[in-house]
Symmetry: D2
Subunit: 384 residues, 4 copies
């Protein structure tokens, strides 16, 4: 172990995502071999009491209360940006100045313009960079990607995805502040589009290629909420719900939908892809399973198979327990980190994780979606 | 029995739908009480050998080979129109001239213009009229309707429906002719829009009210097919797939999708509705079940319930067997017919079956969908 | 049609089973071709008003109130015995005397001794005979049978089946009388063993061969109920629940369970069979589906497939509608009757329906189960 | 953190279970608060190279190759016994001599006699002791326990459980040695009975109380396998499959089954309990869900609910992520450890984890099952 290269992480932000990433840093070495050893070097937050407690709980060697200090520290190799979306760009550009690798929480930025600046900076610097589109890395999702990438589906006709939640239905829920900045467009950029659909779009583009045009509608069901910062009722400026039609470069059609008003769904992220030969379906609520339909099976035996992706032959699963035993949500982050380390070990390998450029492509789709919702017209998607 | 009033049916067309309707005529009296006794009086088709065989198999008292003759017969009370869509309007108007009640296969007509003429005619005549949007009458679907109609869902936020099939993926499949007129726009009017989405729209409007505007896309994946009539490759003019965004009058958002290119789905008609208090989901492949989410249940017990709608307390189910035993597809037609008879018995009762006017509303949505797909713009739906 | 041979049915008993069989007589000709035309000639019941109404509703040409008269009528070719179990033997023996074919509701008799006499009689007479073990004839069940019969499963290791209901949990429910004779051991012979497990055993023996020994336990949860006949509380003598271990002749192990005290299950009849190469599972609540596991599929694609047995390639399904559309419970009776007619048309064909001898084998298993429950020991099953 | 009491763990055995327990030691402090801080002090195994590598990967401070040395070390507070079953008793007794707390992998011992000695020793010493029956601690399973414990089910009628696998079907699989000692009765004590049914029995007794009598059958499908130690074919002495009927002290009936020959099931551990008012079902393959049937719901809304036990209101779930996100298999060990720590923090609390005495009760059931399978008779279960 002493011979391993260290990857010293500086984490900025220690909310929900700070925990999922810290868990990945703690777990990755137990289950995935690498020449790099991940070191939880420092965590940064504005509230000293809280950030110190977080550092203790997660065994970070130190803490900071000023993110610029953390970014400037020489004993940090990589910065993990876990702050609200409105600060991603600023922090990332500062990281590049200090030569830090960046692991940035999604979405990349508030909009494509910010994202382009970020991509330009990291690509000019040559620094490794990653965006935490974690859902790709669940065994069933990666399995789906591999099956499609092998061309097994033949011509693709349809893609559909949604991400349904129900946690903002109450009018009493305020907007803004620590837990609820996602309801504040100033901090979040958008509502479900950037928060949830961005995940759907990332997976879709990874599996099915580029989206070329979209027609969208959005809605804000509850028009005013008390803002935590002011105590006053203010107009809600995010999209509570968004649905869009899309056309992919490969000629397939798609529908996407997201909402926080689908009673009964906590985190129903699903996607389905229909090809000439096969179809695939996946659902975050039952994340170990991939539904698989193979038209090549004789007619009287055809049916949707439920593949429990927990065998040694499934992506990542063999690194954990034995066949049939379930993995959970947080494993996705461990796997994404393992992919990042794999490419640090050998930069010549194909990157299987989303970098800033891929995330910019997703940002461009989000921007087109929001523009279409405003204009009521089909909008072409800018290429990343 | 001898005291019952007779309802003497003349059936025009004896294909797939002719069989489902004949089954309803045969079965309804075994399971539903009525003052009317349904008599299979005559069936009409152009091929005498075939129509005669059909008449024997289904115990029709007579047969015709000219539909005008059948419509003119004095011993016919009601005409059932089971022909391809392009002849619905002409036959229906002739029926009105002869004072016949009409039971018309869906969609009502080739387009709204035809439909309006049909509605005008039947309403002026006062003749009972019905359109066979049969799926409403499955116990689980009617149960869903009743729950929503009672206001139990509170404010409605979302509706989504799709109808996915996979039977036209092969390029070898011809268009036109007896089994395949649904691929020929001249006979069918449209592709999946009129054939499949019309069902989704009928149910949606019944349950969730009027649709006010739509944005659609359509695609024809296979551009040319041999036409059965000519033996030549001809352009395919129907829509193979159609998806649309919609806004309902009640403020809820919707997505609808249909295709015949969703590998793995034979007849996956599903709908879901999300309200403030409850959500409902249904699936034709498991038609006895209604998925039901009640937010009023305490938090640690909330979950989607799978209601097997086969109890005496569920709509129609008590007329059949005992709790837990499944009904099938064809029962939907029996139930629709039972509703028609119920209103014949007592015309003062609320009609629970779709009449020509309701079907015209569905036709207007289909027309708007097709226009939007052509124009790439949102289109307002004409009121029926 | 006029050239068809008639099969004139005399139905004795017109309760729940009388309806399911009458439905089969009405429907079979609409969906299955045969040289025989089934004629609803007479129905028999002790209550003249009721039996007459039944005859009218189901178009029986006549009715009787004395079953011996019906059996003696010359215009009856086949007698259908739908009475409580305690009269099956007597009626059947009388039918043989009058040279009638017999279609007998299951279970065959009150016990093996009665059953042996019945088998002896019908076999000596050479008269066609059938027992209504209808569940075999659902497409998914027949499909399972065919797959196993083809040897596709390899060596069989396990069989398990259960039939769970919950309708007798209330202490207020009386025993005896028209609707509730199944709770009265004098009329029914036994409780769940003969009523429900007999179905499980019939299917098991059909698919997996003979059962050689059993170890059982039974329980009567509610010890006394008011008897409908006397108005008095009387000891309940049936088994409310029964579970047993079994060994099949082919070396496989089995567990069977039935109860009317499994809250939440209306009619949960399931079976599963595990072989070296494949496994199968089926469930009456979702009767159109067969769950299918094929170990021959590559490891990363293996999973349980849900085959919707509604395609033309599935048993019986092609005689009904189009792919994807569900059949229901009552279709099982139609199919069993169609198999009976097929063998009437051509007696040289292999019988796929259960005759008296097969039903006797099932009766012997039931007898062994009840004896084992009494003695607390393993009991060998008598061969039929 | 410095003020926390340390719990210094010495782990003996570092196979599959060694990894799951080490993961619990690493994770528990990140998600559960305690006055105790768990320290990975030492790990012990006979192969120095391997045990050293394991110690590095899992950050154990030291390692040993002689378990007696580890047990004797003064810097160890608690010993975790992860060795094959035949050494549990000897190691545990030695731990007691040295005053160590014990966390012992299940089953407790090779048989009840060993188990009784172990219970006697730990109870006389007053040392905290735990057995790793981890499945209790999945949120859905604990939720089920709590619902039953609250008396919500009313009178219990039925319990059924099984644990089905398919990994030993091949005749080529050897017995004995590191990965396969579970196939060797000398090391394992029994086959599926102690390995798998023990889990089912532990959960059953926890939820539904004591089992009083059993009737079992076992089978060894493959009679001879090459032994890894000798390279020779030797008789297989474990049970490949075991099924048993049981009666609980509360009057309910049960069936249990386990096998490694159920093709298609990797780790299908399920249980169901039917009470007068409610029923519950759970399945390890979908471990986040509890199926819940509440008869108190109005008749037309009754159905099995699928509760995704991932909300803050569900046991343990609130310590992890946000509603809707799945946990996995390994979380069960973290939760069991958290319960152990909770009682270390405050020994006056009710123990929710299985101690040696509870595990002895389970051992007695296993012994009775094996005796019944040998004798072919019902066997009464000894009280623990």
């Amino acid at each position: 172990m002493s011979e391993k290269k260290q990857l010293r992480i500086g984490l900025i932000g220690y909310g929900f995502m700070g925990r999922t990433h810290s868990n990945a840093y703690s777990q990755v070495g137990h289950f995935f071999d690498s020449e790099h050893s991940v070191v939880r070097q420092a965590v940064c937050g504005r509230d000293e009491v809280n950030v110190k407690a977080f550092a203790e709980k997660w065994s970070y060697a130190s803490y900071e209360t000023d993110w610029r200090k953390l970014v400037a520290r020489e004993d940090i190799d990589a910065v993990d940006i876990c702050t609200p979306n409105d600060s991603h760009a600023e922090i990332a550009l500062e990281c590049v100045k200090h030569g830090k690798m960046i692991l940035c929480e999604k979405p990349l930025a508030l909009n494509g313009e910010q994202g382009e600046a970020m991509v330009r900076a990291v690509e000019e610097s040559g620094l490794p960079n990653l965006v935490w589109y974690n859902y790709r890395f669940l065994p069933a999702v990666t399995h789906a990607k591999n099956i499609v990438a092998a061309g097994e589906l033949g011509r693709i006709f349809h893609y559909r995805a949604n991400f349904l939640q129900d946690w903002t239905i109450s009018e009493e829920l305020p907007q803004g502040g620590a837990g609820l900045w996602r309801l504040d467009a100033a901090a979040a950029g958008s509502g479900v589009t950037g928060d949830l659909l961005a995940h759907c779009i990332d997976t879709a583009r990874w599996i099915n290629g580029d989206i070329v045009s979209v027609s969208a509608m959005t809605e804000t069901f509850i028009k005013e909420r008390v803002h935590t910062a002011t105590g006053e009722k203010q107009a809600v400026t995010i999209d509570d719900a968004c649905a869009f039609l899309a056309r992919f470069e490969n000629g397939s059609l798609a529908i996407f939908e997201s909402t926080r008003y689908a009673r009964g769904h906590k985190a129903l992220y699903t996607f389905e892809i229909n090809g000439e030969e096969k179809s695939l379906f996946w659902d975050l609520h039952d994340l170990n399973r991939l539904s698989y339909f193979d038209h090549g099976v004789p007619g009287d035996r055809r049916g949707w198979s439920s593949i429990h992706c927990s065998d040694g032959e499934h992506p990542y699963a063999g690194n954990w327990w034995v066949p049939g035993l379930c993995l959970g949500y947080e494993h996705s982050f461990v796997h994404e980190l393992a992919e990042f380390l794999r490419c640090l070990d050998d930069p010549s390998l194909e990157k299987r994780f989303p970098d800033f450029r891929h995330a910019l492509g997703t940002q461009h789709v989000c921007d087109a979606v929001l523009e279409s919702a405003r204009s009521g017209r089909w909008v072409d998607v800018k290429k990343a």
